[in-house]
């Protein structure tokens, strides 16, 4: 018998919070991307936990789709980072201030 779902949900909430803190605090675009992956993983853990608690395989199906969307998002996002690096030679979000008044 597994642990109750509350433990998994609490852990997922903590990981989501750590990812959110990282996204708001860090300057490097690549590290910010990794923090988004952390938050996506916390959400996936929640989905799998509810799939077990409710006995519904749909929770696992949506995790599958989240994985695919995350892969596509990372590919396009890193493409944008590379393109930006060619023009500005930086991956720091604060240096992208061309539109600053």
């Amino acid at each position: 018998m597994s642990l109750s779902g509350a433990w998994y949900l609490g852990l997922a909430a903590v990981v989501f919070t750590i990812g959110a803190i990282g996204l708001m605090v860090r300057r490097n675009v690549l590290v910010m991307f990794m923090c988004i992956e952390l938050m996506l993983n916390a959400a996936n853990l929640t989905f799998v936990t509810f799939a077990r608690m409710l006995g519904d395989i749909g929770g696992q199906a949506i995790v599958f789709f989240v994985l695919v969307v995350a892969a596509a998002e990372v590919v396009v996002g890193l493409g944008i980072v590379v393109t930006n690096f060619r023009r500005r030679s930086t991956t720091v979000a604060d240096d992208l201030n061309s539109l600053k008044g």
Binding site: R27, L45, L78
Partner: protein, 208 residues
């Protein structure tokens, strides 16, 4: 008295489960704190791998074996390698100064906002009644992987659901992946050399 004790033992989770959860939870937490605090982006990526492995262990613990395998293959095998590739390709794997705070008051504000978010999520989970009280909408998870009646367990069910109930979404993800590949190729392509010198001047002004 004996019956009460037996009931307690029966409802209490077995110690291997507690051990597995504690070990993987500490791996996940150490890894995720490492992602946020690492000064070198390469170290952050390696900490991310650590977190992903911990989450995969928890997937197996919750009878999501297929998703655990996909998690390792897609996340740790493809996405993190892509991250590392870009980090080394751009040559940004040098230490970043994370001790100074460029924007005054940003970090305390980030911690306050995150604490509010976490408290809200946990309070909601603790107090809310589950109104999604319709379990087994698309079919129950039958048996464990070791169950002789359903040898493939939830993996077979997941596959069945993906190709019946979620068929349209599955095909849409195929289109999404193709679009992502085309977008990555277009973005990573070097821009053609401008033919007119005016364009070149405009471009250099833009990039300076």
């Amino acid at each position: 008295m004996l019956h009460v004790t037996l009931a307690l033992v029966a409802t209490r989770p077995a110690w291997p489960d507690i051990l597995v959860f504690a070990a993987s939870a500490s791996v996940i937490l150490i890894g995720s704190v490492g992602v946020v605090t690492a000064r070198n982006p390469v170290h952050a990526a390696l900490s991310l791998v650590m977190t992903l492995f911990g989450v995969a262990v928890l997937f197996i613990e919750q009878e999501a074996d297929f998703l655990a395998a996909v998690q390792i293959i897609v996340y740790a095998g493809a996405i993190v390698v892509l991250f590392l590739f870009v980090i080394m390709f751009l040559g940004v794997d040098r230490h970043e100064d994370v001790t100074t705070e460029p924007l005054a008051g940003q970090r305390p504000l980030a911690f306050v906002l995150s604490a509010v978010t976490a408290a809200g999520v946990i309070a909601m989970a603790a107090t809310a009644h589950w109104v999604t009280g319709a379990p087994q909408v698309v079919g129950p998870i039958q048996g464990h992987i070791t169950d002789a009646a359903s040898p493939a367990g939830e993996t077979a069910q997941l596959g069945k659901q993906l190709f019946t109930t979620y068929l349209f979404a599955f095909e849409a993800t195929a289109a999404l992946l193709v679009i992502a590949v085309v977008g990555a190729v277009v973005l990573a392509r070097r821009p053609p050399v401008p033919e007119h010198p005016d364009d070149e001047r405009a471009e250099s002004e833009l990039s300076s």
